[in-house]
């Protein structure tokens, strides 16, 4: 079904190209119709073909190779960010579950933080690259991108983890109490496993958030090696090479899909006991 949808999108794209105004147009007075010429909207098959062609004139490497290596670079950054954000977010959730005071004080901010464009802080954090040093170790530039990814991933994980950790039924909690179990025992055997169903959607959000964070960070710094940089670079070359930028967009899409796949795997690993419930 998914492939059918994609095909439909491709068909819609090409149809517009056939029917649409070559130099853009107006709808009800607003200049909102995009240009349908080959420069602005390359044919779909051109985009695919571009993947196979050499990246630069005279170069041996194909665009596909460059985009893939860029995607791989960004993926590693995203994984670091995701792992970091998830760990810290989960840790904070445990703290909040343990100490009501901490929960009361921090939860409102966590909730609010998801409505605020935290990504605005990205350029500021990126600026730390190369200028911060602790002892002999200099902050590598790529770390800023991961940190921003981690920062964006942290909030959904903290909120979802807290919800999950508080989701144990009263009867189960009473059961543990009747066993004279300590808080830690109750945590390990009840709260933690019962938090998984609520945690997984949070991980999904965190995965896409860390992708956003890393890509934006790459763009605002022009961090070399990643897919974000490629998008900007190819974006600048659209006058001479219109189809190229789409290849980088494909790369970013692959990045997102791989992270989504990772969360899917995590879901399977963490809940082998659950029957196949339809997730969407």
């Amino acid at each position: 079904m998914f492939t059918v949808s994609l095909l439909l999108v491709a068909v819609a794209w090409e149809s517009y190209k056939l029917a649409g105004p070559a130099d853009g147009g107006s709808l009800l007075g607003w200049r909102v119709l995009p240009r349908a010429n080959d420069r602005a909207m390359p044919h779909v098959w051109d985009m695919v073909a571009r993947l196979a062609d050499p990246e630069r004139r005279g170069s041996d490497t194909t665009v596909a190779q460059v985009v893939l290596s860029g995607t791989w670079y960004s993926l590693r950054l995203v994984l670091v960010g995701f792992a970091l954000g998830t760990l810290v977010g989960f840790g904070l959730a445990v703290l909040m579950a343990r100490f009501r005071l901490v929960e009361r004080g921090l939860l409102p901010y966590l909730v609010v933080s998801q409505t605020v464009p935290l990504i605005a802080l990205a350029p500021l954090v990126v600026a730390w690259g190369g200028r911060v040093s602790i002892g002999g170790w200099v902050w590598p530039r790529w770390l800023s991108a991961s940190v921003i990814g981690a920062f964006l991933a942290f909030f959904p994980v903290a909120v979802a983890a807290l919800r999950g950790l508080s989701s144990a039924s009263r009867a189960s909690l009473e059961l543990m109490e009747s066993y004279a179990a300590t808080w830690w025992q109750t945590f390990r055997r009840l709260r933690l496993p019962s938090s998984v169903p609520a945690l997984v959607p949070g991980l999904r959000l965190a995965a896409s958030a860390s992708v956003v964070g890393v890509v934006v960070a790459e763009i605002s710094t022009g961090l070399r090696g990643g897919v974000g940089r490629l998008i900007i670079e190819y974006g600048r070359q659209t006058t001479s090479d219109p189809a190229k930028v789409y290849t980088a967009v494909f790369g970013a899409a692959v990045l997102g899909l791989m992270m989504a796949g990772l969360v899917g795997v995590l879901d399977l690993v963490l809940s082998p006991h659950r029957r196949a419930e339809v997730a969407s």
Binding site: A171, S172, L175, S178, Y179, P193, V196, H273, R275
Partner: protein, 264 residues
């Protein structure tokens, strides 16, 4: 020594305008090996009594002793097993691991735990479901696993809060017979909370009738139906006689509220 001694216990929740006298001056003794039911309309405090015995609540006044010890010590020593209306099994654990839960908390080693869990499964007649997950079992089966879990550490006392309430009639009757069989085999004392008169009469040696506002015991009815092993126990004259006795005891408290679900 009695299995349970509840001495002049009162339980008051809240204060000022929201003050509720859940229990007032309740006295109860449960002899070793006996089966005692608590029955009464909603709000009479029967679940509260159970929770007090389980030390999930502390009484406002009075004292509770379990196996001669203060209730709190008894809980810490894990002298009792508890079962609720909903089996409350952990979805992420197999049936066997669910039964092992209290044993894990007590620090038993893996092999002994496994052995005891399987033994319990035999007792409740579900050995072939050892590796299944709760969602694969019916309500009645889940409740049997919950009972197996409650008995896993071989406690001398079983506390049950309407454990068969969520089951259909046929399964209920079957579970009641099973429960009796198991308790006879293990010699466990039982305190059983229920809404159902026939259930209370079928299972118990003593039926304790309670009434609300304030919660208190209004009558204790002794029931002697022999060994209750046969199918005809539920058809015996004595059975119906006792049911009527309990019903009348329930009605006689001020008579202003309905006496619960009578035709179960």
């Amino acid at each position: 020594m009695n299995a349970v001694d509840v001495g002049s216990v009162s339980m008051i929740f809240g204060d000022g305008a929201s003050r509720v006298e859940a229990l007032v001056d309740v006295n109860l003794g449960v002899a070793q090996g006996s089966f005692v039911s608590l029955i009464g309309p909603s709000g009479c405090g029967k679940s509260t009594v159970l929770r007090l015995i389980a030390n999930l609540l502390e009484p406002t006044r009075g004292e509770i002793r379990v196996q001669g010890k203060p209730a709190r010590q008894s809980r810490l020593d894990q002298d009792y097993g508890m079962a609720f209306q909903h089996a409350g099994l952990f979805d992420w654990r197999t049936v066997t691991k669910n039964i092992e839960l209290p044993l894990e908390l007590k620090g038993w080693d893996r092999a002994t735990r496994r052995e005891r869990a399987l033994e319990m499964l035999e007792l409740v007649r579900l050995p072939e479901f050892a590796g299944h997950y709760p969602w694969q079992l019916s309500g009645g089966m889940q409740q049997r696993v919950a009972i197996a879990r409650a008995l896993a550490a071989r406690p001398t006392l079983l506390l049950m809060d309407e454990p068969f309430g969520a089951l259909d009639e046929m399964t209920r009757e079957h579970m009641q017979a099973e429960l009796l069989r198991i308790c006879r085999e293990t010699g466990t004392s039982v305190v059983f909370v229920t809404h159902s008169i026939p259930e209370a009469v079928y299972l118990s040696d003593h039926v304790v009738v309670m009434s609300p506002r304030p919660g208190r015991i209004t009558a204790t009815i002794e029931v002697d139906l022999g060994d209750r092993q046969g199918d005809d126990t539920r058809e015996a004259d004595e059975f119906y006689k006792k049911i009527t006795e309990v019903r009348e005891a329930l009605r006689s408290d001020r008579g202003e509220h309905p006496t619960g679900v009578e035709d179960r």
